[in-house]
């Protein structure tokens, strides 16, 4: 039952990816210009060279033919093409950047959830008091300052105080460091971009936690526990938290899907070598197969994240599992 469900969802991925590939090809074709236009900005390149390159890359054909050839290579040879500018297979280019982005995104999620759960619980325990209001104000602060600004300010802080490196992922001497020092170095570089990434969704997660706990605290068994004279702290921790966390687990599953998006600003400002920058540069230079590869990869992660979320939801809520 469970297995067939997962299998069915994974099978549904196939048409999604096909449609996405077609859409990406079409969209790239909608805008005038192609990869050769960026090569052509170098005035030394002659028309003959451009035409020859266009032919070699297959960009002189219609988008449908290009799409067909691409799909044939993918389906029969598992060949996702080469980046025009790097002369390298697409996934070799994306792999390293993917890991870096996942690292940043997970660190950001840690910031978000690590703060959201205790703060949300605190706010719920003190709901409608000044503490509650102050907490939501602080959370909104993170939401209301655009990343482009908070990133720059944090970077200035880092540069002027020397508490953190002003961007980058590793020190230049990273290779020479021992394993412990390597981890520490990475961590020091990770703190500020993770803060920028993590503080944005904090407000909404915190409010969800607060609402969820408030919900649980209104339930009868909690009232009963209170009536039995249990101290409030243990009511919240023992009975409240466990049940309040259930819906948030599902939510966490959904955010898994969007891990790959939403860190471009932090990547640019903090010189983090992530997927966002690779994709963005590929997009600007119309590096077709690199763009397609990156879109597909993000889609797979998204769908898998959603699948996990749905499974979690099903585990938590029997109505849906049976329905």
């Amino acid at each position: 039952m469970m297995r067939t469900y997962v299998l069915r969802r994974l099978l549904q991925l196939v048409p999604l990816l096909l449609a996405l590939t077609a859409l990406t090809f079409l969209l790239l074709r909608l805008a005038p210009g192609d990869y050769l236009s960026s090569v052509a900005s170098n005035p030394d390149v002659s028309d003959a060279t451009l035409d020859a390159m266009r032919h070699r890359f297959g960009l002189d054909r219609s988008w449908l033919v290009q799409l067909g050839l691409y799909l044939r290579n993918v389906l029969f040879h598992l060949d996702f093409g080469e980046s025009f500018s790097l002369h390298r297979p697409v996934f070799a280019v994306l792999r390293g950047a993917l890991l870096n982005t996942l690292l940043l995104a997970l660190a950001g999620a840690l910031v978000t959830w690590g703060l959201a759960i205790p703060l949300g619980a605190w706010a719920a325990a003190r709901h409608d008091t000044p503490v509650d209001r102050a907490l939501s104000f602080v959370a909104f602060l993170g939401l209301s300052v655009p990343e482009v600004l908070s990133g720059l300010l944090l970077l200035m802080l880092a540069a002027r105080t020397g508490w953190f490196p002003a961007g980058g992922m590793r020190s230049i001497d990273w290779d020479l460091l021992g394993p412990g020092a390597k981890a520490l170095d990475l961590l020091r570089h990770l703190v500020l971009p993770a803060l920028v990434v993590g503080l944005v969704p904090l407000a909404s997660r915190m409010r969800q936690m607060r609402a969820s706990l408030l919900d649980v605290l209104g339930q009868e068994y909690v009232t009963t526990a209170r009536a039995m004279g249990l101290p409030e702290r243990s009511v919240i921790l023992r009975h409240g938290m466990r049940n309040a966390l259930n819906p948030l687990i599902t939510l966490f599953g959904y955010t898994l899907g969007s891990l790959l998006s939403g860190s471009l600003v932090a990547e640019v400002i903090f010189a983090w070598p992530g997927l966002g920058r690779v994709t963005y540069e590929a997009l600007l230079s119309r590096d077709l197969y690199l763009v397609v590869g990156s879109v597909l990869m993000a889609a797979v992660v998204l769908v898998l994240g959603n699948l996990v979320a749905d499974l979690l939801l099903a585990a938590a809520d029997p109505r849906i599992r049976d329905g």
């Binding site: 003959a48 540069e281 600007l284």
Partner: protein, 611 residues
Amino acid sequence: MEGWIIHRPTALPLVIAAGLLLGAAAPSAPPRGAARPAPRRPAPAFEPLVTPMDEIGVRGGRFVYAVMNDAKTFNPIMSNETSSSDVNGRLYASLTDYDNARQESAPRLAKSWEVSRDGWTWTWHLRRGARFSDGHPLTAEDVLFSFAVAYDSTLHQSIYDQLTFDGKKVEISAPDSYTVVTRLPRPLARELVVPKLSALRILPKHVLEPLWRAGRFASAYGVGTPPESLVTSGAWRLERFAPHEMTVLGRNPWWFGVDARGQRLPYLDQLVYLVVPDDNAAVLRFENGEVDALSDVKPEDYATFARGETRGAYTLRDLGAALTSNFFWFDLNRERKGGGKREVGEPCAGAVKYAWFANRDFRRAVSMAIDRDAIIRSVFFGEGVKNWSLMTPGYRLFHAPAVSGPDYDPAGARRLLARLGFRDRDGDHVLEDADGHPVRFTLKTNSSTARMQMANFVRDDLAKVGIACTVSVIDYTVMINNMREDFDYDAILAGLTGAVPPDPGMAGNFYRSGAISHFWNIRQPKPETRAEARLDSLFDALLEPRSLAERRRISAEMDRIIVDQCWVIWLPTMKVKLPVRNRFGNLHPTIVPQRLLWNIETVFVRPTGRR
């Protein structure tokens, strides 16, 4: 910050010892510590390149250079953007080098060269005992191989176009292992031939020939190549590459450059290209010492840098006017292919606008409407100069100070427009031409802050003389496509950056009427106007072997024609200032590309800087 002068305790004393052993006379011993090669040929005497420099330095240290993008390939033949060619210029040697300070060619792999009396044949004498980074000897064979690969038309890279003259290749032969003879398709000015042929980077035949024969050259030496397997011919070799993070170059122990004491160069242990995509972040990282040099600084930051000189132990050096010129032009292209929405021969901007744009006096009036001083004060924070040519004041040899174009004179512009029959007939502050068409056009530019701001001033200036100009900011790729493919524009504001050598002969794509960067009317089968025909023949004369004085006169004559015709409306050029850390010796920033790194082999860390 002492953190950046870290030495590797094991490698350094060894290499220094080897360096001291090398007398300038006959140092044939390979440096110790490098892998021992198995040369098939008898080892020739070593003819080191004694590199001229101000101060004799000491070895060690690191130089961290902030860049916006990293290399896309370590294959110099396949690279076609500057972020790759900058790094590849350090990794691979060429026949000659360009001395940015003197603005002339200097020996590199070729220790000397001469030209035949008729100007067609050039003979290059290669340095004996030169070796690749794996210790393999570097000979004429490798130069021939590199030419052969560059001329491989199946690879389709820009180097092919750089090494051909009027579409014709250079004939190359090697009478012996240390002589290369090149026969040009036409006699050319010396100042052009030497740097142009040196655009070719020398690749190791013993490594790459099998790959080339197997048809796998295009993906060879990509950024995924393990650093230790990259065999280089330049002063540096690849130590580490982390995509979008950094490129670390280490010393090539076999490189042929030495200082006057016979010490092997480069002095620095490491040259690091650190990718910093955000320019604010780059400034901050220079300030706090994580970065030693910046490739570009915006004029708005000059004041910030000037204030921090003492604290940051650096000097803000004024390099004078940039080699970049800014201008806009009107679309005078005509449909040549047909089959689209226009008939062959139809003006791409439409008949009405073409009639305005094609009128020289209209273009003059536009030029007279532009308040260039305001642009300098606002866009360049006062750090700019007026400029009337591709040869900006930064081109020391070719700038013609006597040439200047129609400058700010709004009253004159209005009079001129009135004389052409442009009048505001309906009182809406916009002129109409004789047929009643309001004078409106769109000025396109890409989203670079300086260009956008300049376009704003142009719009405001033109509004004051009654021309309604709309600024449209578009994607760079789309703009390139507009100006080279579909001609879907009225006017475009753009800029051209200088190349090496800084010589008008390098800009044939701009001056020639048949060329692709003759922006206002590209790819003309034959010159459409007499002025353009004159420009073509002048440019041809400029390429020929002549005295420098004569070539300068020709260049000034070309400038004068363009200014007189107002095909492009010139805008100011910014002045360049770069902060240079005081602890580095021999660091001489220049305005010519590779501003800071052109002599990086001789740059060293001053011993007083160590703690």
